[in-house]
């Protein structure tokens, strides 16, 4: 009788739920939906719990009624009180002091643990993805923001103060672009999805030749990082240059992070991985330029292997780790 764990990834735009075998593997009964907005935390938590129950039911249908779901691992954004499973502060979702663990436990009847979403994604890649076999992994998720998670000796690492891994707010250009955090020159405004889109739009304002305006029917506000990938993949040199610049800024952030932390691997996740060589080519080229090498040479930088599911897999893995630490 196999044992299973539900993994939940709560994002600002997307909710993902799947069931992962305790020994690992691809998530089953996967469901993805838009994060409801306007209804507050209750609506989101209700929807998450309904998705978990539906996934558990689906698993029973496909794996037989004996398939046991041991519990729920939840990947949540923001700062957490891990011991109590409380989301202290998530500006992304507008949650402050939400007792997420207790709510999910009550609604699903399953033991629940809560961990930071970026840490879950990094843990998922370490456990079942591109970070397998490395002793320590820095996971970087390029999305609406830039999330960073650290796995050290097989465990999520949150630092002494619980707030480690925030690579998006490393300064890479002193006095540079304004960041949503209020600072300047953070990595996030250069290499996040909106950062890439904004750089593309700003460059177009100068009358640059590009297929981008066509792709959005002239409405430049509709340009996203995905539009930039699409244009670059179609041979648009300007779009390729915008992507390359973002990759170069990420290389600067990775250099700093690797020199400080000395991980064996960096796993780059998020939508940008779909751009493939258009992004990872310039990233590798920039990392290969002259710079302080000892930590970089000892570190492997790879794209994530679990697009869309690293958080779900990692959340399930964190549940397994916390409830049966000997397995970690």
């Amino acid at each position: 009788m196999a044992e299973w764990i539900a993994g939940v990834d709560i994002g600002g735009t997307t909710l993902s739920v799947g069931i992962v075998a305790a020994e690992g593997g691809r998530p089953r009964a996967l469901r993805v939906d838009d994060t409801p907005s306007g209804g507050g935390p209750e609506e989101v938590v209700d929807m998450v719990c309904a998705m978990v129950r539906a996934a558990v039911d689906e698993l029973a249908r496909t794996e037989g009624p004996d398939a046991t779901v041991a519990g729920v691992g939840v990947a949540a954004p923001g700062s957490l009180d891990r011991a109590r499973g409380v989301v202290l502060e998530s500006h992304n979702l507008g949650w402050f002091g939400l007792p997420l663990r207790d709510r999910v436990q009550a609604a699903t009847g399953l033991p629940t643990v809560v961990e930071n979403d970026a840490n879950c994604a990094a843990y998922g890649e370490w456990w079942q993805g591109a970070g397998r076999g490395f002793r320590s992994v820095l996971g970087i998720t390029l999305g609406t923001g830039i999330g960073g998670g650290i796995v050290m000796d097989g465990r999520p690492f949150a630092g002494a103060t619980g707030a480690a891994g925030e690579i998006g707010h490393m300064t890479v250009e002193f006095g540079g672009r304004r960041c949503t955090c209020g600072g300047r020159g953070c990595l996030e405004p250069y290499a996040s999805g909106p950062g890439i889109a904004r750089a593309a739009v700003e460059g177009l304002a100068g009358g640059t030749r590009s297929t981008l305006p066509e792709l959005v029917a002239g409405d430049l506000n509709r340009i996203t990082a995905a539009t930039v990938h699409q244009a670059a993949a179609g041979g648009d040199a300007y779009a390729a240059e915008v992507l390359a610049r973002a990759a170069q800024m990420l290389a600067a952030g990775i250099t700093g992070a690797v020199n400080l932390l000395g991980p064996e691997a960096v796993v780059v996740m998020g939508g940008v991985t779909a751009a493939g060589d258009l992004f990872f080519g310039p990233l590798a080229a920039e990392l290969g330029r002259p710079r302080f090498r000892s930590a970089l040479d000892a570190c492997t930088v790879v794209p994530g292997a679990l697009p869309g599911t690293a958080g779900v897999v990692g959340a399930a893995g964190v549940f397994r780790l916390r409830t049966d630490p000997a397995r970690g």
Copy 2:
């Protein structure tokens, strides 16, 4: 009968040796000398061992013949094979593959351990200095270069690859100043001693009003970071601005490091601590500006409390930790 440990700090310009009680406290029988150059590793190691023997003899005279020195902790620059006590690569000293532990053991007759100098300085401040009582400390030494050392849960942290802590080579200004490592925009060329001196000289080239030329009798090549402190302390607004700029760049590096690593404290060491408020004032002001705050607000940034001896104290502490881990 008290037990003692010899601490050795091997720097590119200075050798320091002292004897530290196993329970801590100020180093005794302290001696400091210039690092001999030109004679290769042999000459340096011979001198270090002679200094250790002299310090042990002095201790016997002051503490009585029963004072037992249990061993030697050596702080060495560069990358290390800790298990074998070998300096793999120190560009600073020109040492490659030097079996430092065995040499010191043979010449002193005392068990010896070797640890990275920046880690020893951080460990010294954590054990006996400004980092006491914190669970994790990032130590930053501003000198000829910028060294970084991490203490986590009471132990030096070297990362999975043994190369962690190199905060001097975090990129803080993409495409900025050339660094000795070959890269651009690293923290080191902005906030190291030579970086501060160079910034001062470059600004003077424009005909800026300053007392600096006077202080070096017109020979601008003689300007060092200490000259800049001296001028600033004497009311030179230009020199104060140069120091403030270095402090601001350091703040950018600290922001990135703290966001990534989440330590409880950052201890800033090195000659620059002598500048006091002229440096730490602008540093605090810059750290207080709008930026991503959760990890920074949970972190204390302080000047080191063991000027000149953090490495000696830390090396002795690392010996104690490695030979009696229960004490750590």
